[in-house]
Symmetry: C5
Subunit: 338 residues, 5 copies
């Protein structure tokens, strides 16, 4: 319902009380108070905030100044960082639009009873597929009711689950692109831009893999309960996400393997084609040069060339050219040179 | 004997009593009761069940809702998942029909005294080689009598043993296909579609490997007794399956290695052939152009060309062409250019 | 402000007293005394020192004679060496100028309360981008005030942080070069020196990687608190540097992967182009030889060639040549050979 | 001395008494008794035994039915399997005859005081280099006397030592084959079947490696004293075998590396040759076509071509053709095109 | 000073007394006595000893018969072997002379208070760069005085240090060879034997790596104090050697990487050249065939060809040929085909 709400530069703070459906708004300058009552979960989300606003948030939430700097700069690797009182998870949301991979860094800082999500701008200014908060909200609110658990672990799970689900879409699109390339490689009327397409695909996969692979370790660390504030139920849910991440990385490996195979196959196809072209060139060259030689012979100016005065000399010459053509053509055809 | 019985969408529940040969049918709505008496093993098998039927089964067997969701969706990786009271093993049965690999996911959920096997539909609608339950039943009933053990471990073993046996058939067929490709690569009348065949084979192997390889870890986990409800005798049997899986993965590695070798050999063969073609083209070109040059010389219109008025001028010209042809032909032949 | 101060062969010793801003100079022949008062940090920096001067320093600071030899010789790997009373960190500062990687070894020896930094000469005599000490001083003095900690850990951090920041510049420039090469590879008017450029780039990356990769282990060892004289606050700062090093190594891997991809793409592009050239050669050859054959036929000297005496014989011959050209041209064009 | 004795389908049982030289025959139906007296070592060897005979043996020696099945089927991986009362070592003896690798599985089952060796048939019916038991007997009897130890460990050692010694012969022959291939690759009169030979070699190496590599782990397990019935002296001897296996695997790796290098070198050589061929084709084409053009010019029928009536016109034309040939020939020669 | 002394087949035994400079000779048949006084270090060195002499040595020094056999045979891998009372280190000294790698096995057996060094013959009979003992003696005697330690650890160190120093020379020469190859690959007048040179270089590197790499583990084992008779001061010295070995292996990896890059670059260069050659062939072919066609046209025998009777017909024909040549030449030049 709130699709439009989360777009654009906004800071939003909500408090979820135990056993109470829905959430209450919290003024962003009173976050420090909102952390205190431990029976509620405080969720602050911001996108495109100004440095000053971000400073305000991190100060109120008592976030370590090193983590705060990371939030300001962006450009983090996918990682889990442990600070004294809180954790910082950096992940990258990915989408693939027409061979271009768009990635958006999302920084999630959470402590006992609160979570701050900072959505960094996309690496591409005109990103057609921004990350929407709706599905995170929906997933969290449903699961919160089902499991009757309020902790920030479910919010972490909701974020990661949505992001990983989008990875599957990306992998799916890569599969489509691979099919396209495969079709072109083995088609007979193949164009010349295969290498470019293969390289673009490869680059996309390399960057995608770089975003996805470290998430395994982040999740493994969470599953090892390194962030002790996450509840048991949230851990079980994260196990499911971990399994999905394993599937995606598996999938990417398979795709990279197939792409390498495609490029090798393409080289072999091109070699075969060149061989074909050369055989044709040789065959036609032999046919044409053979006939030219016959014509050349009867173009010689010797005084005594009996054939020249024969009545059927000319047709015979033409005939022998035709004969040569037919014989050579059949011969090359039989040997599969033509 | 019961070949036809297990085909089509059916749910079937059997109870095996200790020391009693054969099994009794259990109504599918009274499974909850059948779990209780621990002196019997309850085996529920379903294929193509409706979501509602599946819900009924998972509810009665008290299967965790996350595992239940996996059973509904299918598309799992080969894995062993540990829930509080039961285990979930997802494996993939594979067959290779005319270069196409068909895989069918089989989900096995088991707890103390019961086992639920869910056979997911094949990844290809018109699968000519479905997974038959007969051999599983036969193997289980024989071993149950031999070892006088009733536990679900033997059922798990029976499933995995049948599936891994089928892997050997697949690897065998891959070997046949490799032999075919090898023969074509090194034959002198080689066709042009090698790259396509090699790529198809490679794709098949990549997918096959992806299905088989994780089974090692699943079995290693079972052998480490992670599923403590499996009896000692079943573990010894699973060790045998583990050994088979190692052999298959070994085999696949060897095949992949050979396939890479074949592709490289093919590139070298094609290069050699092209070299041959070019040498021939050069040789024949030189022969034909040489004769044409002679013809051209005597086609010049100079007034004083003494040879033109010689009586044997024409035969001499033809003769010199023949001589040139013979000399060049012999020369090129000796240097292996023709 | 002190840009010029640190260039050229100098030895410089400064003492930082706890809680006192700025530093005091220490005569280089009284270093042994300056180590004693533990409430101050002694920092000695030297560049291009004579062997005798270096001997004086190492004797006064009681540096192990094996470490001292390393300082004399230079040419160390990136490493952390543990001696009884002090540690030796060897790192390499890198810059990339016009495809040439310049590396400068920096040896940092530190013990409890003192640090000696020896900047070895660059591996290239006319290095346009020397390592400046200014940024190290600035970073250290700022952080020292902020964190109110005086230990040598912050100096180690300041050095590593500056060096790793410069790594990012190098990686950035490699990205630029990759973009350049990619553009040339896929441009239609591609030059011939791609392989040379790719190889130079590869060499640069290999050497860069060799400088950067071992730094991970050096930092991991420091983070495991192998050098127990480093304070807790410095460790937290080094964690940040560690994260940066991971990012850079990740980045290099990606770049190497892309470079390999580019080279493969280049081979495929060249193969495709050769195919194109051969098709054109065949097409034009067929057209020209066909017309030549027609001319040759009417150049034969048979007595009875009716066409020769036709009034429109000549234009007809020329016309048939044109027709042949047009037909073949269209045909080849349609099949994408021309 | 007993060369012929061990060939053909035989079962043979010998008992070695402590401190007594030589052995006594044991009737194959009284093996169960012969195991008992622990002061003797019972060695049963069989080759090509019928299933019934094998059953008799395994029953008397109380071999686990899973191990017994493995002995019946053959086709095992190189492995060490631990059963309750005995161990099963499967190894593969290899020989290389004219590029074909022959492998023979040898199954060694041993317990405290007895050892059963089952020599499976070769993977190739007409195997010219069967595995002879003589050297095993000789080695065992010598070492038994030297070390004054009777345990089955020395028999295991004798088998493995003989087999691994034969591996060195195989590796030696691979080296010879590599040298042959290398010579052909870099010879100037190189044949066309390099790719086939390289591929055959590669296949041989892949299969050889597959037989040898797992032996490392088998021996490492024995050296870790997993089979506690092996005596200390036998372990020291096995350490030597382990070292040999490491050397062979090292060697194979080197050979594979060199083979890959050879194939790449071959591709480069072929490319270079093709370049040469094309340069020659171009050079000769230019020379011949140039002369043909001159002949064509003087074959034109213009009325006023002054050269035609010159007395030395004809020799001048021929002379200009010769000149053109010489000039072009020298030019191409100088540029290394011819 | 003693350069000539150590060449040729000699056995030499020296005793170093604690605190006494220089050494005393020990008769080779009284070694057993010389081991006893623990305050002296006995060093026996032999080269090209007869089997009988070697037997005498190993008996007196009570060397295990397995180790003794290794000394007799030679051909060991680089390794550290632990026997009850002594250790056996096998290393390989390497030198590179004109692309040929010479390796010489050196076996060092040492126990508490004694060391036996056996220098095996080179793998190549006419080895121009034998291993001289002088530098070992010098290094040992200097360090022995400096550190005032007499134990065999310093002798082990002296051997390894000299050998590893020679590795750097080899790596240096490989670098020179790589530079040579690189220059040829990218030179315009490139010869044809690149693949052979690259392959030879590769083989040298493979064998070099095989000699060097296992030394890391040998040294790591010594540093873990597996040979407890080595003193603390020797361990510190060996750490330095270990660091050198790491540098050399690093260096080899870099060189292998660059060599692979060079071969790939060479393939790309050759492809590019072939493309160039084909473009030229096509261009010149079109020019020559075009002119030949014009000549052919005016060589036709039609009765009414008005141009033939024009006064300026002949020059016009020649002119049109020249025009065609100039136009095509310019066109091809502009498109970079010529």
């Amino acid at each position: 319902m709130q699709t439009g709400l989360y777009a654009g530069p906004v800071i939003r703070a909500w408090s979820y009380r135990d056993g109470v459906a829905g959430h209450e708004d919290v003024p962003t300058d009173r976050l420090a108070d909102a952390i205190e009552p431990k029976e509620a979960l405080l969720w602050v989300d911001c996108v495109d905030a100004t440095p000053a606003e971000l400073d305000l948030l991190t100060t109120q939430l008592q976030i370590s100044h090193i983590a705060a700097e990371d939030l300001h700069q962006g450009g983090q690797r996918t990682k889990l960082e442990h600070y004294r009182e809180h954790f910082h998870v950096a992940v990258h949301d990915c989408t693939l639009v027409a061979d271009s991979l768009f990635t958006r860094e999302i920084d999630i800082v959470f402590g006992n009873g609160w979570l701050l999500s900072v959505r960094q701008p996309s690496d591409n200014p005109d990103d057609p597929t921004p990350f929407g908060l709706d599905s995170v909200v929906r997933r969290f609110e449903v699961e919160r009711t089902t499991e009757q658990a309020e902790d920030e672990g479910f919010l972490v799970w909701a974020f990661l689950d949505v992001i990983v689900d989008r990875y599957f879409d990306v992998a799916d699109r890569f599969d489509d692109r691979l099919d396209d390339v495969e079709e072109i490689v083995f088609s007979t009327t193949k164009g010349d831009d295969i290498p470019k397409e293969v390289f673009d695909l490869r680059r996309g996969m390399v960057h995608f893999r770089r975003a996805v692979a470290p998430l395994r370790e982040v999740l493994a660390a969470l599953l090892r309960r390194e962030a002790e504030c996450l509840g048991e139920a949230a851990i079980v849910h994260l196990q499911d996400v971990y399994d999905h991440v394993l599937r995606v990385t598996d999938w990417i490996e398979t795709q990279r393997d197939l792409l390498t195979g495609l490029l090798e196959a393409d080289l072999a196809v091109v070699s075969n084609r060149m061989n074909q072209v050369m055989k044709r060139m040789t065959s036609w060259g032999a046919i044409l040069l053979g006939s030219t030689l016959i014509a050349g012979i009867y173009g010689m100016n010797f005084e005594s060339m009996p054939e020249l005065s024969w009545a059927f000399g000319y047709p015979a010459a033409i005939g022998s050219m035709l004969l040569l053509t037919i014989v050579l053509y059949t011969w090359f055809k039989r040997r599969d040179w033509l």
